[in-house]
Amino acid sequence: MNTPIKSEAFSIMTQATAGLENPAIDEWKAQGGKTIGYFCSMLPEELFLAGGLLPFRMRATGSEGTDGGDSYFTNNNCTFVRHCFSVALDGGYDFLDGVVVINSCDQIRRLYDNWLHKDISPFVHMVALPRQSGPDQVEWYTGEFHRLRKSIEEHFKVEITDKGLREAIAVMNETRRLQREVYELRKRERPPITGAETMAIMVAGTAMPKVRYNELLRELLTELETRELETTYRARIMVTGGILDDPTWMEAVEEVGGLVVTDGTCFGGRLMHCDVDEDIVDPMEALSQYYLADRPSCPRMIDTQVKRKNYTVDLAREFNCDGIIGEKMMFCDMWQVEQFMMTMDLKEEEIPFLKLEREYITSGTGQLKTRVQAFIETMGK
C-alpha cells in the first residue's frame, strides 16, 4: 500500500473527480460565473474559456442506475449515454447553464435529441464533426467553431474576442504542458504516481477553473518530483480506449499488480499529447487544426488508423510498457472494431494486448481483476 499523496492540491483534485458538481464549481458559481457542459474531447474548451464560461466535460460519475435513460434509449445503447441521460432527467446537471454536444458518435447525437426533447438545459448547441481530418474538413470545422462562437455570444451575452481566444489557448497549452510533465515522471522505473491517481488528476482538469487547476498541478508536481511509489508492481501497463473517467477501474488493474504508467484514453493522454499551434494567426483556425487534425484522434476519424496505431505503439515503448489493456464500453461500435484492428497490429509489434469490455459505472471488479491477473501471468510477470 502506498502512502497517499500529501499535497492539498491532490485532495482538491480528487474532490472534483469524485462527483459532478464540486466545491471549485460552487465557488465559481457563487461569484456569478457560468458553467457549460460539453460532450466529447473534440470540442474546444478554449472557446468556452474565452467566453468567460467554465467548461465541464460531461460524465455521469456517481450515477446510480440507468432507469430514467432506459425509457428513452434501449439496453443495446452504451451505458455512458444511458447514465448521462438518467442523471440529466434527475436534475443532476442543473448546475450547468448549457450543454454543447458534438456528433462524435451516433449515440451521443441521440443524447442531444433527447436532451432537447426533454428540455434539460437552457442552452443546447450541436457541432457537426466531419469524419476525416484533411484541409477541407479543417475548414469546415473552423466554420462550425464560428457557429458555436456566435451562439455562445448570443445566448450568454458575451463577446469572444481573438485576443481572449489567444489567452485561453495559452492557458490550455500550459495545462497540457504541466500534464505532460506528470506523465513524464511515470517513465521512471519507480514512478511517483499510480494510474488511478493520475486519472483523478486528469479528470479534475475538466471540472474546475483552468488557471486554478494549473496552480494545483504545479504544486502537485513539486511533491511528485521526490515521491516514489512504495508498492512494487509486476508489470507496467498502458491503457487505451475511449471514455474512461473512473479511477476505481484503474485501481482494480493496479491492485493485481499492473501499474498503469500511461494511457491513450480521451480523459487522459490523448488530451495533452501536443499543443495548439500559437503561431497560426487565426486562433479559430488554430483550434480547428488542433482538435481535428493534430491531436491523436479516436477511431471516429477514418483517416487516422495508422496514426492511431503508431501513437499507441510509440507510447507503449516510450513508457517501457509490458503490455496494453484496451478498454471499451459495451455497445460501442467504434471501439469494438478498433480493438479488432489493434489486436492484429499489436500482435505484429509483439506487444501483449488484452481487450476488455466494460460498463460505464464500475461495479464489482472481481472479473476485471481475474482477467488482468491472467494477462500479467501470460506475460510471464
Partner: protein
C-alpha cells in the same frame, strides 16, 4: 531460361460474383415458372442482379477498371464514367449459396468481432478479411449513416486487408442537421466533384458531363415512377405487402439498375400492374379480414421476412403498407446546369436516401418521416424492430414512442437483429405480435 506461362491468380471475390451471378440466374429461371404477373416482375430483379455481377466479372476478365461505390455517394458516376460498379456493402443482402448467413455471422464473431456490432458490418468485415469482395481498381467509401460504416472502411484500409492498396476516397458528409440544409449540400457536392476527379486519376476514365446528364435523366424517371408506385400503395386495401416494392425499388433505383432504361420499364410495369390492382380493389390480405396497416420503421428483414410476414397477413390481416427503405421523398435532379447536377446528387445522397436521411440527421427528421408516412398511408401500427445494430435508431426509442402516442397510433417494439433470425427467434416474434394484437384489441 524458359518463359513461364502467366498464371492468372483468380480473385476469390470475383469467383464469388460468378457464383452469385449463376445463382441469381438459376433462381430467376426457377421462380419464373410460376405463372403470376407479380412474381414475374420480381423475377426480373434477379436478372438485373445477375447482369450487375456479370459486368464486374467482364471488366475483371478483360482487364478494364471497375469500382466499388454506394447508393448514396452518386452511384450515377459509375455509368457516366463507364466504370462498372458494385456496392461494397452488399454482403448480407446478396449472400447466397457459398455459406449460410448464420455461418458467416458466427465466423465473424469467432474472428473477434463482438456480437453487439451490427451484423451487416460484421459480415462485411468478414467478407473483406476473407478476400471475398472483389478488389476494385478504386473505391468510393461511404462513411455514414452509422458508426459501423467508417469502421468497415478502416478495416478495408488496414494493413491486413487485400484492399489496403486500393485507392479509396470517402466523401465526407459533415452535415448540418437540418433537412435540406444548403451549406451541407454544397459541401457534399464538392466532395462528390472531388470523387469524380479521384476516379479519373485512378482509373483513367474521364467524366463526360453529357453522359452524366443522360444517366440522371434516366434515373429521374426511376424516382418519378417509384413515387407514383408509392402513391398507389396508399390505397385501402393495400395492393402490396412486404414482398413487393419497398426494398426492391430501392435496390433497383439505387444499386443494381441505376440509370438503366430496362429498369425504367420495370418500374413502369410495376406501376401499371399496381394501378390495375388498385382499380379492382384487390389487396393482399384475405377477403373478409379487416386490414391492419403496418409501417415497418426500419429495413425490411429480407432474409427471413417470409417466415412471419405472410403469417401476419393471413392470421391478422396485418399488412406492411410501407417500410423505411421503400418510403422516399425524392426530388428529381435538375440537369440544366453542372452546378445543379452536383447539388442534386448531393441532396439525393444526403437528405433523400432512406436510412441515410434518418440516421445522419437529428431525431426531428425521423419524427417528420413518421408523421408523413402515418398520415399518408393511414397507418394503424408503427413497428419499431429495434435492430440491435442501429444504435442511433435505438436512441430514438422514447422519442418515437411518444411521437406515435401523439399521432394516436400504436407503437410496437420488437427488438431484433434484422439480419439474424436467431437473435429473436421467429416463434418469439410471432408470440410478441399475438400478444400485442390481443392487447390492442385487434384479435
Amino acid at each position: 531460361m524458359t518463359e513461364a506461362a502467366e498464371v492468372k491468380i483468380d480473385d476469390p471475390g470475383i469467383q464469388r460474383f460468378r457464383e452469385e451471378r449463376d445463382q441469381f440466374t438459376n433462381l430467376g429461371a426457377m421462380i419464373g415458372l410460376i405463372d403470376d404477373p407479380e412474381v414475374k416482375l420480381n423475377v426480373r430483379i434477379t436478372a438485373f442482379v445477375a447482369k450487375a455481377r456479370q459486368k464486374i466479372v467482364d471488366a475483371y476478365e478483360q482487364g478494364r477498371p471497375f469500382i466499388a461505390n454506394n447508393y448514396c455517394t452518386a452511384p450515377e458516376l459509375g455509368l457516366a464514367m463507364d466504370l462498372p460498379w458494385f456496392m461494397l456493402f452488399d454482403a448480407p443482402f446478396t449472400l447466397m449459396g457459398r455459406q449460410s448467413l448464420h455461418e458467416v455471422i458466427d465466423e465473424s464473431v469467432a474472428m473477434g468481432l463482438g456480437s453487439d456490432l451490427c451484423t451487416a458490418i460484421r459480415t462485411n468485415i468478414y467478407y473483406v478479411e476473407k478476400n471475398l469482395v472483389p478488389v476494385p481498381t478504386a473505391a468510393v467509401g461511404f462513411v455514414f449513416p452509422c458508426d459501423g460504416m467508417p469502421m468497415l472502411h478502416q478495416v478495408m484500409g488496414h494493413s491486413s486487408s487485400s484492399w489496403r492498396d486500393v485507392p479509396l476516397i470517402c466523401p465526407d458528409p459533415a452535415p448540418y442537421f437540418a433537412d435540406g440544409n444548403i451549406e451541407s449540400i454544397d459541401y457534399f457536392a464538392n466532395e462528390l466533384r472531388k470523387t469524380a476527379a479521384f476516379l479519373t486519376e485512378h482509373t483513367g476514365n474521364k467524366l463526360d458531363m453529357d453522359k452524366l446528364k443522360e444517366v440522371i435523366d434516366e434515373s429521374n424517371k426511376h424516382y418519378e415512377l417509384w413515387q407514383e408506385y408509392n402513391d398507389l400503395r396508399r390505397a385501402v386495401p393495400a395492393p402490396h405487402g412486404h414482398s413487393m416494392g419497398g426494398q426492391t425499388c430501392y435496390s433497383m433505383a439505387q444499386i443494381f439498375g441505376v440509370g438503366d432504361p430496362d429498369v425504367t420499364t420495370w418500374f413502369q410495369d410495376l406501376v401499371d400492374l399496381t394501378e390495375e390492382k388498385v382499380a379492382a380493389g384487390k389487396g393482399v390480405i384475405p377477403e373478409g379480414k379487416k386490414e391492419i396497416r403496418l409501417f415497418w420503421f426500419d429495413l425490411n428483414p429480407t432474409t427471413f421476412a417470409d417466415q412471419f410476414m405472410p403469417w401476419l397477413e393471413e392470421e391478422y390481416g396485418a399488412v406492411m403498407v410501407m417500410d423505411m427503405l421503400g418510403y422516399h421523398d425524392y426530388t428529381t435532379i435538375d440537369t440544366s446546369s453542372e452546378e445543379e447536377i452536383w447539388r442534386g446528387l448531393a441532396k439525393r445522397g444526403l437528405f433523400d436516401t432512406p436510412m441515410v436521411r434518418q440516421s445522419i440527421g437529428t431525431a426531428d427528421g425521423f419524427v417528420k418521416d413518421l408523421h408523413r408516412v402515418v398520415e399518408d398511408f393511414k397507418i394503424d401500427v408503427v413497428i419499431w424492430p429495434g435492430h440491435m445494430g442501429h444504435k442511433e435508431m435505438l436512441g430514438t426509442y422514447g422519442i418515437m414512442r411518444e411521437a406515435c402516442r401523439e399521432l394516436g397510433v400504436h407503437f410496437f417494439d420488437i427488438r431484433m437483429d434484422i439480419w439474424d433470425d436467431r437473435y429473436t427467434p421467429i416463434d418469439q416474434v410471432k408470440d410478441k405480435f399475438t400478444r400485442f394484437f390481443e392487447a390492442a384489441g385487434y384479435a
